[in-house]
């Protein structure tokens, strides 16, 4: 026997050093950031990856060593995810998100945003109209936990007092944290409910509009609409806008599932889901701002004009930021 070694065994012997090196580099990359690797190592990864991949192709056609094939498949797959899955640094991603992705998503979903805003306004209008016909409707719209004593039986003075409360500084931080987590959870819920073809999202938006409308009608009946506006809008502009955008994101998902168009349903859903979730990340940022305005800003600023000023500035700010005409770099 002249040939003492199998061709496939020699094939493996000649290359297993490279495979081992790739495996060690992958292990390091999974534990530590790429910046800790030397330039040599970083440059070696794509080379080792393509060598491994071509070894896999060859081995599939020439080797019957199953453990070798399993190993090469596992190694190639891991390396593939790393080589083609590499993402830009966090800083680049954040820059791209604020400069491009978020406004772009907001504009792409403008139809859903209009629908979402209409539903909130309809809810508010309906609740205000029903309240005008019969005060008892208030209890149907505003659950006890939100009312906190602000109901049709309260006196004007009591209603006014709520608007100008000063809180202690410590309690305010807790209040802001609570508001943010609570509102963010509702927004994420509104988004996720879009999966049921957007119907629950629409209901959620409408009922939120109802609560707002009923409360405004109550204060208007006591001649306190102007101060309530300041109290509500200082954070409400941001919060309401965020809620409307969250609803829009949910509608986009529901719409793509119901009417996928020319694409398959999973394809359409995936495209819609990614775009909508970019917008949702923005919504969470807006809610954080809103919670700070509500939890701290509102308790500190008790002047109506100043409150309206902040409200107007935030409204214009968001609109300009999200919808101002711009050229998105490709």
């Amino acid at each position: 026997m002249a040939e003492l070694e199998l061709k496939s065994a020699r094939f493996r012997r000649e290359r297993e050093g490279d495979w081992g090196r790739l495996e060690r580099l992958l292990q390091r990359l999974e534990r530590e950031p790429a910046s800790k690797l030397s330039d040599d190592d970083l440059l070696a990864i794509p080379v080792l990856y393509s060598a491994t991949l071509s070894a896999l192709s060859v081995a599939r056609e020439t080797s019957l060593d199953r453990s070798l094939l399993d190993y090469l498949e596992s190694l190639s797959t891991r390396a593939y995810f790393l080589v083609y899955g590499t993402r830009p640094s966090l800083r680049d991603r954040l820059t791209s998100f604020f400069a491009k992705d978020w406004p772009k998503a907001a504009r792409a979903l403008w139809r859903e945003t209009v629908l979402s805003a209409t539903l909130v306004l309809l809810g508010a209008g309906a609740a205000a109209w029903l309240f005008a016909t019969d005060n008892d409707w208030y209890f149907a719209f505003v659950p006890g936990q939100y009312a906190g004593g602000r109901d049709p039986t309260a006196t004007t003075a009591a209603l006014r007092a709520v608007l100008y409360q000063h809180g202690s500084q410590n309690a305010l931080q807790l209040f802001a944290a609570f508001l943010f987590t609570h509102n963010a959870q509702i927004a994420v819920l509104a988004f996720a409910l879009g999966f049921a073809f957007g119907v629950p999202t629409a209901l959620l938006l409408f009922t939120n509009g109802c609560i707002m409308g009923a409360m405004m009608a109550l204060y208007a009946a006591h001649g306190l609409l102007f101060p309530l506006g300041g109290w509500l809008l200082i954070h409400g502009v941001t919060e309401l806008f965020a809620t409307i955008l969250a609803g829009a994101a949910g509608f986009r998902i529901g719409w793509s599932l119901a009417f996928p168009g020319e694409r398959t349903r999973p394809e359409a859903a995936a495209a819609a889901g990614r775009q909508a979730s970019t917008l949702m990340a923005g919504v969470l940022i807006m809610l954080m701002v809103a919670a700070l305005l509500e939890g701290i800003g509102r308790q500190v600023i008790t002047n109506d004009i100043a409150r309206y000023g902040v409200a107007a500035a935030s409204g214009i700010g968001w609109l300009v930021y999200l919808y101002r005409p711009r050229n998105f770099p490709r």
């Binding site: 199953r66 190639s76 410590n170």
Partner: protein, 305 residues
């Protein structure tokens, strides 16, 4: 070689040209063609693995929340309640982060897997191949809100005395979303569908030793006739490989006995089963790989070329 379990065509079962109507060997095996044109044949996670991974994650999260709550209470007690507000803020934000960001942060990492998924050797991947983007991970995890947390909240808040209709609607809702993965062939949950992702197996394998190393044939004691090497095909070779790697003494004995009988091999005086099987494995592999080079793939012993 019926002594061993029938060898299921594993993920490595080579397909000559999978893109041309080659049927995947496994119901969970999917094509993943790299830009270099190689099909990596990834395997999807089963529903039970997914559920197991989620339970591990949920258990860790609950354990952290319980431990952190106790710590917070202790800290508030130790400082006589002066830091209550600060602790409250930390607890609220911590709870929010655990609920929403646990999955997000781990899946954004280089391994694209939460600790629970790592336990089961799984990872999240984009269905179209290529980059797994942050928005996709956000989408798949935001959907957990309606898959897990909404039913859970519903269960906790309305435990007693609610309308039977509402309970029925809640159960239907939960059932549809929880069982969603079982009703599509890619085992997608609602979040995967919306995000364009799926969960695949990422087995960690180490390179085991070469069974047909040069020292086997150099031993020279075992010379097989060409006819003896034509007794079996690839399926049997792989079973033999498994038996040799497991190295179970009884199994080796049974298999060696069968092969000797089949090929008519006279057992030498001090011949060990293991040495015989390794030599035969090397010989058979050499023979079958030789055929492979000539473009002939002998699937099993019943397959004649």
């Amino acid at each position: 070689m019926s002594a061993s379990n029938a060898s299921a065509p594993g993920p490595s079962a080579p397909t000559i040209n999978p893109s041309l109507g080659g049927k995947p060997a496994d119901a969970f095996e999917r094509e993943l063609i790299t830009p270099e044109g190689v099909d990596l044949r990834i395997v999807l996670a089963t529903a039970s693995e997914r559920a197991g991974a989620f339970l591990v994650d949920a258990a860790i999260i609950v354990a952290i929340i319980v431990a952190a709550s106790i710590l917070c209470a202790l800290a508030a007690w130790a400082t006589n309640g002066t830091t209550r507000s600060l602790i409250g803020v930390l607890w609220l934000l911590g709870f929010f982060l655990l609920r929403n960001a646990w999955f997000l942060i781990f899946e954004l990492g280089p391994r694209a897997a939460t600790p629970g998924k790592r336990v089961f050797g799984l990872r999240v991947a984009s269905r179209q191949g290529g980059r797994l983007t942050a928005d996709a991970i956000f989408a798949r995890n935001a959907m957990r809100e309606i898959e897990v947390f909404l039913p859970l909240t519903f269960l906790l808040t309305s435990a007693g005395g609610v309308d039977a209709m509402i309970v029925a609607a809640g159960l239907l809702w939960t059932g549809v979303l929880v069982l969603f993965p079982l009703f599509n062939r890619d085992r997608l949950r609602a979040g995967d569908l919306v995000a364009g992702t799926w969960v695949v197996r990422e087995p960690r394998r180490t390179l085991t030793f070469e069974l047909a190393g040069p020292e086997i044939q150099r031993a020279g004691r075992f010379i097989f006739e060409p006819a003896q090497l034509k007794a079996y095909g690839i399926a049997e070779l792989h079973v033999l490989e498994d038996v040799l790697r497991e190295a179970d003494r009884d199994a080796l004995g049974v298999v060696a006995e069968r092969i000797r009988a089949k090929i008519g091999w006279a057992e030498g005086p001090d011949e060990s089963d293991r040495a015989f099987l390794r030599a035969y494995y090397a010989g058979l592999r050499s023979e079958l790989e030789g055929e492979l080079l000539r473009g002939r793939r002998r699937r099993d012993k019943h397959h004649s070329l």
